[in-house]
Symmetry: C2
Subunit: 429 residues, 2 copies
Amino acid sequence: MSEYRGYEGNSLEFLKKNQIIVGDSVNILTDITYSGIIMPRYEHSDDKHIVLKLKSGYNIGLEISKINKVEKIQTSKKNTETESKVEKITGLPKILLLSTGGTIASKIDYRTGAVTPVLTAEELNSSVPELAKLANIDAEVLFSEYSENIMPEHWLKIAEKIKEFSKSDYTGIIIAHGTDTMHYTSSFLSFALAGFPIPIVLVGSQRSSDRASSDAALNLIGATKFITENNTKGVYIVMHQDENDNTIACHFGTRVRKNHTSKRGAFQTIGDNPAFIIAENQIQKNMSKDYFEKNEFQPKINLETKVALVKYHPGFDPNMLNQIIEMGYKGIIFEGTGLGHIGKVMYENVKKANEKGVFLGMTSQCIDGRVRMTVYESGRDLLDLGIIPLQNMIPEVALVKTMWAIGNSKNNEDVKKIMLQNIASELSN
Amino acid sequence: MSEYRGYEGNSLEFLKKNQIIVGDSVNILTDITYSGIIMPRYEHSDDKHIVLKLKSGYNIGLEISKINKVEKIQTSKKNTETESKVEKITGLPKILLLSTGGTIASKIDYRTGAVTPVLTAEELNSSVPELAKLANIDAEVLFSEYSENIMPEHWLKIAEKIKEFSKSDYTGIIIAHGTDTMHYTSSFLSFALAGFPIPIVLVGSQRSSDRASSDAALNLIGATKFITENNTKGVYIVMHQDENDNTIACHFGTRVRKNHTSKRGAFQTIGDNPAFIIAENQIQKNMSKDYFEKNEFQPKINLETKVALVKYHPGFDPNMLNQIIEMGYKGIIFEGTGLGHIGKVMYENVKKANEKGVFLGMTSQCIDGRVRMTVYESGRDLLDLGIIPLQNMIPEVALVKTMWAIGNSKNNEDVKKIMLQNIASELSN
């Protein structure tokens, strides 16, 4: 965290002149005296105000021209230094916590809401004291990215890191991750680390940690409980089931989507119940078969990023498909309409793509349900043109799986075979 | 319907030689004698079989080399001719039914399941006799397309046709439409015909009419009831609410998506209840304000198809965005992640697009919820680059609205203004 995060111009000068920084506890004297903590600024800022978090929890903007005096009560730095070291209790299960960024992975500073992307076991446990009673957690920062900036290269790094621990004494691995693209990452890990001997759980939070409604701590506790009380292999996403703080859902990493921009229960298992529900102290298991088709761990940590996701719609320009072919793409996942259709206007370029050996897979933009391309003539035409119907695979998962399948295959026939093989519960009944 | 639909080679020759066509009732003598109706062939066909629908309702393939004799019981043609003319009851409300294709608009031949894309009032009413008791229906075939082949040009034709009836004595207009892209069409009509004085209702069916589970008749009855018992302006999609035959949902035409490939209750209003629920003989109204912002009818039937829908994902190649710009696109709707984000890798080309005057709108691939681009730094960066957050507009609707807004605007500033204006309930609270 920058000490002056979000402040500029006059307001920045004001902070410097008064020798205060974000996180300091202060009294601000105007006509009234306000006591609180200097907050970082997030919104589009003017430079005429500073923001104070009052003891009530509310934030207030104070016009600097009306401030008569500033009294510092406690420095931000001092607070950090007073954090206690976590005592590890012998005999508890060991968990490895890898942090990749996102709100969850930030240092949870409930006082200021400031986001510092450094997570140590100490900092984590001092924020969520319940964790230390459940497990001994070793934490490591892999990188620190908002999840819209997580790239396939990051997936590879995470997978390479986890691979090292296939024969460790950890009971499970937690990955703290931004929620935006968490389901893409969970898909990649499911394929690349198929058969991994201990559970891999991705955890995020929908609400930033400075808000009373933050779900970070509870999701983290849920993930820890799930790992320590359950020895099911697989890659899961653990998040609030709904707005209720009592229910945490544990989703199949290959059957889940972020389906709401802001709700705490944003993640949903598509077309099924979550694999597990963690309610109070009970873990209810809904999954009826193993997560991985094969339980031997044979990592395949490669991928090919030249795979396009093409969402068909009325007015889609078939020339766009041609551009994709010309740009040397190796795979195309269609998000077709309904049961898996794209308009006749596309046929000529689909044919061209097929002739060039591009892998062509069909999913549905309906998201839920199964593509069935033998019901209507148009679907049968598309089969003839070489498009492979990917059953009920979610479009995003199909995209990631294709990147992975091409990256680990010698030829197009292998890719086709892999794409229809149920490797990590990505296809369901 | 072709008299020999789907038959070729030996099987076609066999039908001709025996003077039978699709739809004929026959006895087929092999070792066993089968009685049934000659079916059209839909699946990938060989030319060695003919398909018979048995009286049990099951279809059976019969190898022609094993057929000893064919006896014709009743011709297909005779059946058609026996259909009764519909008597119109004076005093009933008048409805105009426009047919554009899709399963619903096909002639409902329960016997063969054959899909004949010709719909007259007589044929319709003889299939769904309840309709004649509710309304006098004038039917017209506009065109006959699977809905994945409905193009923006078709939207224009439908809108131009409906425009003629703004001062007619019709109580409402029903559009029979394939379900795949029905929500794109309802969006366009909502904008192009904003303020239209009578309700416009799109109806489809998820199950082909030869199946016992077909929803065609009930959806059509629901739409008719809705129009005759309700005088709410707007553009709606009327379909089964769920698998239950007792409940029909009437969705806002701009807040609805096909969210399942095959279920009868495939359509869902996003983030809200359907505008109306039609259960048994009751219509329950959930909408709390008028569908259109302005109730004067001022048709604007133009569009610009050079608008791209860009679904961002890890590994998205920013060069693709560059291609879109180079291809002369006038608008780009992003399906960002979460609250409306795209990765930093995209920024340079977003900036370029903005400098070229391309309209840039942000929606979320979460589908439900609202984009909020002031929460995280990355969102604020995108605002600075000229991307307009489109609140909780569904990506598909944002795409169609942008096509329409650009087609009816003089400059980019007008487009921005229109895109944030709530014209036809596309933005909700």
